[in-house]
Symmetry: D2
Subunit: 401 residues, 4 copies
Amino acid sequence: MAVDLDHDPLVVDLAHRTAEFVRTVVVPEEERYGGVSAVGGEPMRLRLQAAARDAGVFAPHVGTEWGGHGLDMRDRALVFEEAGWSLFGPLALNIAAPDEGNMHMLEAIASPGQKERYLRPLAAGESRSCFAMTEPAPGAGSDPAALTTRAVKVPGGWRIDGHKWFITGADGAAFAICMARTSGQPGDRGGATMFLVDAENPGMKIIRHIETLDEALFGGHCEVVFDECVVPDDAVLGEVDEGFRYAQVRLGPARMTHCMRWLGIARRAQRIAVERAAERRLFGSRLGELGMVQAMIADSEIDIAASRGLILRACVDLDRGGSGAQSTAIAKTFTAEAVWRVVDRSLQICGSLGVSGDVLLGRFLREVRPFRVYDGPSETHRWAIAKRVVGQQVRTMKEDA
Amino acid sequence: MAVDLDHDPLVVDLAHRTAEFVRTVVVPEEERYGGVSAVGGEPMRLRLQAAARDAGVFAPHVGTEWGGHGLDMRDRALVFEEAGWSLFGPLALNIAAPDEGNMHMLEAIASPGQKERYLRPLAAGESRSCFAMTEPAPGAGSDPAALTTRAVKVPGGWRIDGHKWFITGADGAAFAICMARTSGQPGDRGGATMFLVDAENPGMKIIRHIETLDEALFGGHCEVVFDECVVPDDAVLGEVDEGFRYAQVRLGPARMTHCMRWLGIARRAQRIAVERAAERRLFGSRLGELGMVQAMIADSEIDIAASRGLILRACVDLDRGGSGAQSTAIAKTFTAEAVWRVVDRSLQICGSLGVSGDVLLGRFLREVRPFRVYDGPSETHRWAIAKRVVGQQVRTMKEDA
Amino acid sequence: MAVDLDHDPLVVDLAHRTAEFVRTVVVPEEERYGGVSAVGGEPMRLRLQAAARDAGVFAPHVGTEWGGHGLDMRDRALVFEEAGWSLFGPLALNIAAPDEGNMHMLEAIASPGQKERYLRPLAAGESRSCFAMTEPAPGAGSDPAALTTRAVKVPGGWRIDGHKWFITGADGAAFAICMARTSGQPGDRGGATMFLVDAENPGMKIIRHIETLDEALFGGHCEVVFDECVVPDDAVLGEVDEGFRYAQVRLGPARMTHCMRWLGIARRAQRIAVERAAERRLFGSRLGELGMVQAMIADSEIDIAASRGLILRACVDLDRGGSGAQSTAIAKTFTAEAVWRVVDRSLQICGSLGVSGDVLLGRFLREVRPFRVYDGPSETHRWAIAKRVVGQQVRTMKEDA
Amino acid sequence: MAVDLDHDPLVVDLAHRTAEFVRTVVVPEEERYGGVSAVGGEPMRLRLQAAARDAGVFAPHVGTEWGGHGLDMRDRALVFEEAGWSLFGPLALNIAAPDEGNMHMLEAIASPGQKERYLRPLAAGESRSCFAMTEPAPGAGSDPAALTTRAVKVPGGWRIDGHKWFITGADGAAFAICMARTSGQPGDRGGATMFLVDAENPGMKIIRHIETLDEALFGGHCEVVFDECVVPDDAVLGEVDEGFRYAQVRLGPARMTHCMRWLGIARRAQRIAVERAAERRLFGSRLGELGMVQAMIADSEIDIAASRGLILRACVDLDRGGSGAQSTAIAKTFTAEAVWRVVDRSLQICGSLGVSGDVLLGRFLREVRPFRVYDGPSETHRWAIAKRVVGQQVRTMKEDA
């Protein structure tokens, strides 16, 4: 079990049941399809989500009015980590990216009508969604302000034109939340707006699936073009020109839920390695009695525990209504790298078995690598973390002067 | 400020006042003596402790009946980190090693009479103490069970013979808590007893001050010989043959308070570096705007935050009455290395200034290095951490078989 | 260009021509097939090798009597690194694993008849081969002495029984060099013999292709069973019971040629990243002007240069007739990890492009990961390196005593 | 022994004799004075240098006309590493910083008269010198172009005004080579001139010894003021306004000789640790048989070997007349960090003994730390390394466009 720091017993119980569900129901499906979601496809998604509903562990994150358990961030940390034990665990619980982050944002920002139309079926697993923000260079990427996709006012609505890529889950999504510039120029820190675009809209086209190192997320990573894509006025999510602010509403918590889920995979990888270390003998010793293997196991325990502590700290900030800008950046940077190290060490401990498809460690390695890039590369986060610290110091020095 | 996770406002206030006290009263004395306690000597100790008493921040750790604030481990984390901002902060608050750990153990184990005689003056700062456990190789060190110092029953008491070293604070201590073997052989995991030995006892002799890289702890690191050292029966602390168990009572919390204090120095080092980064210009930029400097600053923020999370986690375990064996080992290993990295980076950011005596970073580097060795070297902790994890797995596999 | 330390101008020229050939002829084929050899298949192999022959860069490693250039290890370092610029470069030059190592061993150990029959077509690229040593746990792996496959003398030959896996290139190989125990027990450091086994032998069966993280090596990684596999007396390569010694003849140089080839990929990855850093702009700067990106680029330059220096050092040892046990272990351990770091950094610099299939960095990451495991995991090499150093010290101390 | 890659047997012999001399003659003096040069003082210097002369190992670097052995950089690598086995070895051979670098520059640039007057006694160990370049911020430091010290033409000579610090060996030096700006403004990449300033010049004043982490270099690190310091015309070393170019003449080789010397200390530290690992027993094993200790020993072997390879590579560049800008930056950056890691690991292996003054490891740690700062901090070198690589790519892309 993961964290048990002052959680409500009901939440602890939900986490336990989630752990049990994932181990017994989800892992067999994951191993059957080698962790590649496209192989299992929609039938697998429906099967897993039905089972999660039966097990009473479905949609822990959304409010009870949307069929969920209404967990705050701190409690999500406990449950999501257990769901993350399998690559398909989050899908089963309907807390996979990008749907989970979209539900979070819709619950916070959408109008009642938009909630009924988009959030309700999404929370119920009846539809999927995508979040269309990232653009090929030199557009919005590490620097969201570089946003180039434009939305121009037309009678009764908006016309969106732009080019997006790495739009996770786009293929099969019922709708996209598209971020487009409604004022200003690429580079400006304001002027973006969020739009709800239905999949049927002929102006939104998926032009390819981008082949990527990771293959577990449902619906792939797509390149999407908005070409004279006209949407009605009520497709605006929240207020016009407030898109960058909403993006932050989504991004802080989404960073943390990513961390929680991947921490689950780190623990799974560590478990596989420890099982191997406990049973394999080498040079006359149990593998797990060799000092260098022990060092790897210990370092992974430390990495897991440290990640968990940082996630918890950031979740408390978010639950208290803070932006969590600094603490989520710290937690995300550390966890993304720690998870990578843990999976890499686990594979090393398993040796040639580890690089084979006989265990899922190679698959995990492929899946977690991109996390050091998306949701802000480690370098961008480090830059932002330092900037806040140095900026604060510069202000203090000016006040003192 | 350090941690603010669900602490009582009174504790938060105590932490704030401690921070203020250390910055305004303690740091000037520390800088005056270059962080070397022997230069300031006993007059400095008395001066600082009187000031701490006046400021109402003295002895936060012991119970109110001994003149303290009675903080649990979780609250200590908050206050000790602030005290640790200066090398002499813990001395000022009377929470420096080894006295702090000794008070913790006396409060937990000593008889009422022993408490009055030893704990009361110690808690009041009227006396100092030392903990005589470590022995030169091949005696008790990384492996406490290697204990060779022996105590033999004699009429009315015990005769102790043995050789100890790295006995911090021995010179000037009013008494030692000496760990000696009362049964079994070196290598046995039981059979140790704790004895209270007065400094006046002619059988206990300090034979030298060991020159060490660190020089901030009061009373130095001494080599001590017990030579036909006879103590009365009531010198036994707790029960005969229970010494190893008591050592654990002391060591778990003592590990954490070490971490808290050194985390304060890490934050201080980071502050010095950030001040430098904010004011120094290089190659036409502010130092703090150069990417590699930003990376160092961010990594230190991450290291500090991760250490704090791990310490908190372990403190919760200890406050709940657990042994904290695994969580304190994890927190100690990570924090000792993280603190070292932070100080090292801070020095690097300051460049030639950093290696000079014009700032205290070189001194901090010297002071924190030994923490990766004492209280269990990182390697011993990693071994223990892995052993528990693999051992648990082996047991699980046997049960399943 | 790679190393230019006192090489013959003819060798430098060969390296230059190799570099040119790989960039212009091999890279397009590699990109066409995404670096997966099975997609290009035998036609691609034949096409590339014919082109290499035409370009005069084919088989630089074998003697001129076998159609090669007869380079020593030091010169191979220069040329192989250039060949390694593409995943298929070594295949094109007929210096890919395991054929290259097998040719090296055959040239050193085989009888004249064996050379004509096995080495000549192999050196000409008319056939392929495999090396059947590794066994599933608890057999020969990190510890070759654990060898369990047995060969028993029968009239006129030997009968081999055993189970091998991770036999690279087995599928399609004309013959295997199989290592089997002819005396002693698993765990004994002697008693192995090398056998030449023709693919047509009904006693040798490929039972599966092992799915692995890497997919560039020709013929895959196979699981192979020897089941009452009878070979004639002249199938013995070298002397009976000398197999472990011959394995060392093969392994030292083979470790180094692996390093040379992978160093080429590291340089290629670095080039891709530097191109990206030179053209991409972020936050108003060229990517390559951001400090953290510069740090990554510099670290990769350092890693590449340090690897090259260590490889050269080991090659000089081997060329002088030494075992190179220590220097090849040092070079292999460092290079395998350095190459991994370089590819990982390159991918990070390229961001989301890096994790996509639009560049080959994700492919490279998959290909180089197993190198930290095969040819001795890093941990086994570190153990051996330290053992030699400490063992030497123990002997010195005993002599002094 | 260190490198043995194609060296003349006479040089190998000189290296052997140097190794023997340092171990038997120098190390006892070093241990006697705890590695602090000021304790031994001038008598020790004279005693050690006389002994080196007797042993025929004195001044290996200067030409035979100046009483030396005339080694090129590649051969120096072999001999200096052996000299560096002791903190005082370089002093004994008269190849310590800054004299060694000054001799190198004088031999390359000085006029015949200047050579007789300054180089001859310096090479003979009859005098010492210093190099006055570094200035407090915002002057010349990581960025030499920030040079603020000015020299203004006056009749018959120049008047120098400026402020220098970290001028190693200034106290007791017979003369300084002072770098001052003769044209342009701080920030300009040209306009510096080198001046020879006699210690008797009343315009040059040592205003303090800077207390530093390191204490082994002779004559300390001083703060020096040039205050209306008038020197004659023939005090100009080389040409006016060519000082930055000459600084490079000095800096490239000086970087490498620093590396060679510190590599000797790294090997010494490793030896101390290996001796400990070979004799100490812990948890029933020899310390050197514990996996985590083996990992540290192996990593240090790797670090030492890799440093050596990089130094050799850079020396070959310099001997061939190249600037060695890239290869010396690579070698310096890696070696400075590698040496630090090796000493740190050695101390860790020795545990509490390691942090004590009973072995010199704590002293070594203090001595090698500044090497990551002086001669260009690691960050400045990484910046320069990347800048060259990216700059080359940008040029290539422009040519192709």
